[in-house]
Symmetry: C6
Subunit: 198 residues, 6 copies
């Protein structure tokens, strides 16, 4: 029943909500990255009981956006006159690690452009300041969690393809994989051209 509720939440009615895959002490799990803009001076707020490394991912994502605003169709003025808040729900659970990097960037680009996030899509991967996607751990557990949560498509780093190759066929049934090398590919796959209703 809980999964049912969750799946509804996962709809893409609003921009800025993107599904990530996490690796926890009790197995894989899905998590949601939310971002929201408000009138301000370009400040960044990060909540959700996050550790140091995960907070750094948010900072890296914002800096990458500032340096590549044009490429993503983001208005430079918005970057200076909006505050950004990134939140990862389920505050009771401490979260850390770099693997939400690409999810955070996708959430931010969606918020700044208003573009809808593709539904039934999840992703996991570290991003570098230069927009490369790096491989992360716990792939098998994350794939199982994605299936339980009714995910249909998954974005992974090309370096993680070998981890998929080691998983039994039956666990992968119904899942489509996108193996990528940089953030441009992630955004092209994850965000629709269509704008979400605000």
């Amino acid at each position: 029943a809980a999964n049912l509720e969750r799946n509804k939440y996962e709809t893409n009615e609003v921009p800025g909500v993107v599904t990530g895959l996490a690796w926890t002490s009790v197995g894989g799990d899905i998590l949601f990255i939310e971002s929201i803009l408000s009138k301000g001076k370009g400040n960044l707020t990060i909540t959700g009981n996050l550790g140091k490394v995960m907070k750094e991912s948010a900072t890296i994502a914002m800096e990458f956006i500032k340096a590549n605003a044009d490429e993503f169709g983001i208005d430079m003025e918005d970057l200076q006159t909006k505050n950004v808040h990134i939140h990862v729900p389920e505050g009771a659970t401490p979260k850390d690690g770099p693997s939400a990097g690409i999810t955070m960037l996708t959430s931010l680009v969606s918020s700044f452009t208003g573009r809808k996030v593709k539904s039934h899509l999840a992703m996991t991967g570290e991003m570098t300041l230069r927009g490369k996607v790096l491989p992360v751990g716990g792939i098998k557990e994350k794939i199982l969690a994605a299936k339980r949560a009714n995910i249909k498509e998954i974005i992974l780093c090309k370096d993680n393809q070998k981890d998929i190759d080691e998983i039994k066929e039956e666990y992968l049934k119904g899942l489509k994989f996108h193996f990528v090398e940089n953030m441009k590919e992630v955004i092209d796959i994850a965000l629709l051209k269509q704008k979400a209703k605000k």
Copy 2:
């Protein structure tokens, strides 16, 4: 006798005081979220011996209000020319966790609009940056505490309905439940149209 005094406190003469339900090491308990506005520059102060996650809930609530001021009938100018202080009384007890999120938002909307809080009402639930309500733990203990404190109506996340279904009928007698999915529903139930006397 103490409960009697508490119940008086619980009256809704002033805006900004909302009853929450907490889950402590010695069982369930009620707690009060107070918010107050003063002339300022939009700063947020949080007190009450709160842990990191509970403070983050206050930040999330404020950001959500800034991004949805219109929908709640809040004047954007007030958000920039008032300081907000959120306090959770009984400072001797450390408090933490995300489950006061919806109570904090309700308190803030009440303070900014002046709308009265419904009396004999309590609530518990995490809120996300996008205004969704998430389920929380300790439901059974919280319900028992609410009854002891003479609460008549309780707001919970729809995902917590299953926890109520598992509680014996006799413990639920005299309680009315509202199962909600988002913050708009919480505000519609918790705040009266009527303004409180300042």
Copy 3:
């Protein structure tokens, strides 16, 4: 001899010095809350080897004053052009807990209005952001300490009346109690209309 000296200190020649009651590891004790104003920008400084919760009490008291300046006859301009320093002497002793809340507020109102503090008066109680007074612990030990220090009147939360009822008559001889529910009552009892010489 030390008590004799202390009693002199306790005189109300200056505004802003109020006697509180504390509960320490070696029994009850009296403590003094001092506040002082200087030319500034409305900043608050807190000293006296205080823990987090006791510092929060000072913040709560200041916010309450900002939101209720009119009611206490405080000039709004003073709140923006004066710095406030709250100090609790005897820095060798670490101090914490919420029970100095009402003493701090009384000290601040005295400093901002210049009104004299009633002599031979002590108080203990937590205050909420909305000006309610909450009960605190260690009442019996605090009463004994008050008597040793030649205190004649004590302000307590109405919820602490039951703790007084459990103390033997002989310990209470010569003490007058005021049981209150909110800060307005505290200020009416504790501060004289007469202004202190600066």
Copy 4:
């Protein structure tokens, strides 16, 4: 030989250097409080490997001076256009506690007025925000250290007179004591009318 050197240091050629008495794990000791002014905006810097309580003493002393500048003949403008640095030499030794309070205030008044510090004088005592002097511990050990360092006059809180009464006559030979209740008395005793050469 070391004491000889020290005694030279102790001369009062410059304003702002005042001798205090400290109580350490290896007995009593003298310490020096230095303060210095530079062009600035009224900022306070504190160094010397000091603990939290001793740093607070410096803050209390500065606030007291701001609120009582007239009484000490200090120019209000200096308080806003000078930075103040307080240092306690011998950085290898951690130092803490409130008993340097009156020494710090004396050093600051000397620096702001340029008045010479009386030579062969030492002092120890906590000060309150309202300028009262409170008693401190370790009096016997401090007195012995003062004699070793060739001190001739000592300022103490009136409440510490009983500690002196318990010391054998022979240890007190050649020492003159001043027992005080407030900071005005300390300054009158410790600072000469004569200005030091800058």
Copy 5:
């Protein structure tokens, strides 16, 4: 396979990405220093799960650049109107120590000048505030890691030449070493005159 991917990443298409050599608990490793500029006020952001000393290296590098902008052909105005972000990917691994100092400076000079980084080049060495290069530890392990990652040229401090002399000939085959004393030499070797495509 992982190394293959890495090598691609190591290409010098963009300025500001420089390969360093690290010494970890499991042997030598290569790491990448990325820097990026964005419109701002000269602020420096540092991410990558770095310890205190490694963060200090970034500060030292920035200060050295500010004091020697002319020598490196860097526009002083850029230093005041650009924010700089330095990131070290693979956030799951904590990193510390001074040996990335020369790599950080090289990355920054590349970002500010747009000059391409020589390909198949790695380096390790502490830099001082005056631009000297100091020797670092773990040289043998770092050399082995460099070979595994297909590095062809390595910059080391002259003081580390003796560590190379102790390594067997066969491990050094195919590697060209540059032993340097100051940062000017490092930049001359590491950066091409040719500008990278932005």
Copy 6:
């Protein structure tokens, strides 16, 4: 061989690099204090893996310079329009204690005046805010380290002369000592009138 390299480094071609003597867990050692100026607003940055007390030494040195700029021929305007960075190389080693105080001040005066540092000179001593030099520990170990590093002259506090008197003649051969009481003497000995090439 390492010492040979070090000795080169020790040349006085640039201002602001001064040799200090340190006492570490493995015996005495020499260290270098570097300072550098850049366009700014009078901010002070300190790096080199330093502990709290050693950082305080840098603050004390800067404050002393601000209060005595004239005496050292330093332009007051430079103090407000330059940022200062002090660095102590060999970041892998944590460093603390007050004994680098006089070395830091000497480095700063050299940087602000451009005066050359005397070559083959080292020093160790705590400085006070009033410019006195205090004795420090580990003298014997520091002297041995100085000889190994080819130092010819050493500045010490007059109070440390007794420590030299206890060292065997043969260890002191070839070393010239300067015993000083205040910072003016240190600067007169350590800095040449001649300006260094920038």
